[in-house]
Symmetry: C2
Subunit: 372 residues, 2 copies
């Protein structure tokens, strides 16, 4: 029996539901049917996800009297490029979709971000539905309407704010997730506690290992809590004029590390965010903003579930401070030449810092990449 909870992201005429639960893929057709505006459906997925879940989704659509064509892209971060953006759009147009058509993104963050951005662009905007199949995409990228692709200058530098019509997060799909990706997603789950919910972080300290090892109740509870946290912030600030920037905790350092590894499998996005969060707390403690104990508690928890907590744990990468600082200066989060950091006064007390001295950031990076 499917069972799920529903949250609504309240954004006026762009409002949508997020369903989180078990057995949701089997219900997808019935849940999608009320939100679509024409019978033209195209599923976009990748080569890893297609063999696992495409048939289930198609069966479920069929049971609801719907049919969909599908487009299967290569798996991996390289797909989140303008090359695949173009290919995907040309394929969608070749299928003669119309303005009331709907794309269904079935997969992780790469598929969701790319498909959402394609939906924003095709015929200047068609509908899309997110069916995230990774922990990272269930708790982060599928909610909130940030879509986009990477540039040679950095991650997610090309994109649009474009909300889905519906998000279906089926916890059961996490069963097939490699443990490394589970942990990468977990780094973002813990982020919500660190931003403004110390009790949630404390709960994760108790349940995190169980959750990562497969406990479905904990997984579901964590996804629901994460989506609630994210939806709350998105509703307050849809296009990141202010408070939404808190969701970037760990992302200034994290994106820099990812850029330096060429967005490759050496360092997954969630791993980079986890490392970035450790560094953001280090910087906060170094600046005397946050107790050193809190920075250590954050690192200890990430280490306890098995996440890397220092860049030097990443195999096969030679880090260089100058290069890392340079990537930081090209990030989206730069305004009037200043790099924005999300710092913390304590666990659960993150804030947006727009006047951090780059010498302090450099020191933190320098310390972090020492091999001593």
């Amino acid at each position: 029996m499917p069972s799920y909870e529903t949250l609504t992201v309240e954004l006026g005429e762009r409002s949508y539901d997020i369903h989180v639960g078990n057995g949701l893929l089997a219900e997808a057709g019935a849940l999608i049917k009320p939100v679509i505006r024409s019978q033209r459906l195209i599923i976009v997925t990748d080569e890893n996800v297609a063999p696992l879940y495409l048939a289930s989704l198609e069966t479920s659509l069929k049971a609801a009297g719907l049919t969909a064509e599908s487009i299967v892209l290569p798996a991996g971060e390289q797909t989140k490029s303008i090359t695949y953006f173009e290919q995907l759009i040309e394929q969608i147009l070749a299928k003669k979709i119309d303005r009331k058509g709907t794309l269904i993104a079935l997969g992780g963050g790469v598929i969701g971000d790319l498909t959402g951005y394609a939906a924003s662009a095709v015929l200047r905007g068609i509908d899309f539905v997110q069916v995230p199949t990774t922990l990272l995409s269930q708790v982060d990228s599928s909610v909130g309407g940030k879509t986009g692709i990477n540039s040679s200058h950095g991650k997610n530098l090309i994109g649009a704010f474009y909300q889905p019509r519906l998000v279906l997060a089926d916890i059961d799909t996490l069963d097939s997730l490699p443990q490394r990706e589970m942990l990468a997603g977990y780094a973002e789950v813990a982020k919500y506690g660190l931003i403004d919910d110390p009790e949630f972080f404390a709960w994760l300290e108790r349940t995190g290992n169980d959750l990562c090892d497969g406990n479905k109740d904990h997984r579901r509870q964590a996804v629901v809590m994460s989506c609630k946290s994210k939806a709350k912030i998105v509703v307050e600030d849809e296009t990141e004029q202010g408070r939404r920037a808190l969701l970037n905790l760990g992302h200034t350092f994290g994106h820099t590390l990812e850029a330096e590894t060429g967005f490759s499998d050496k360092l997954l996005h969630g791993e980079a965010v986890g490392l970035g969060i450790c560094l953001a707390f280090d910087l906060s403690a170094h600046l005397g903003l946050c107790p050193q104990d809190d920075a250590e508690r954050v690192r200890a928890h990430y280490a306890a579930v098995g996440l890397p907590t220092s860049p030097i744990e990443i195999a096969g990468v030679m880090w260089h401070t100058d290069a890392l600082l340079d990537h930081m200066q090209s990030d989206k989060k730069v305004e009037d030449g200043k790099v924005t950091f999300i710092l913390a006064r304590a666990i659960g007390e993150a804030f947006v810092a727009r006047d951090t001295d780059m010498a302090d950031a450099r020191l933190i990076v320098d310390n972090a990449i020492q091999q001593d």
Copy 2:
């Protein structure tokens, strides 16, 4: 002395002014300064426009205490492609623009549409200002927030609704416009009369030749009237859910003709729209919706100013009905498999027709491409 009129496009927090007048380039700095949010300005223009107006714009910005970098792209419709979209964005990012930066589009419709779409995409959206230098862009593409690029499947199939912060239409820049492009823009000017303003069309019948030959008062009046007409419709229906489709008068047939000529110089966009309008009135008359006399009056006026009024006047193109109909089916204006046409009950009484029998459209195309 500069002198100009100002219209406001009322779209809530996305509202903006359109200034239309003479000597506006010299005033650009003073007019742009109040709407920008940071000192990071990048002018995007093309190889034809740069030698004519880039220095004037830079001088004017400098006089207002602003500096801008510039990016000069090749001229022509081929630039409105995903290849140049990517190149432009990478160049903008290489200049380390931030989220409060502004792009200034200096040029015709290609530069305006491409730059606007790049502005929508860079860092998920930065500001942009339109400085249209062709009649077509002054009366049509610079107003209303339709931005985009072409796909191999057709024109403007990839894009976004994204409003500029300001439009500066300097009538003096039309002095350098080749006569063929002046006429192409004129086809869209007359369109506003044909949609819902028969008096404006009658005025154009009296003044059109003078206007095309260089009469600045008439040009200015025509640009103001056109922008007013367009702004009114855009305010009513920003994202083309209904009434805005009227602006597509002539575009269903027009886009098809352009697609068949590969968006080349054989047929300019405005020329295609003019031809398309003649065919839309032919179809309206054929269906008994509109007096035959009105269709003839439209064709006679376009012919009087020197525009082509039949596809067979276009040199070096072999037209094929099947190919033309096929392009029509891939257009953005297809919904639930039906091609949308803008038809007319009379001059100044256009309406959106969603149930046209394609056999009738085929007949009109067939007749139009007969060489006899």
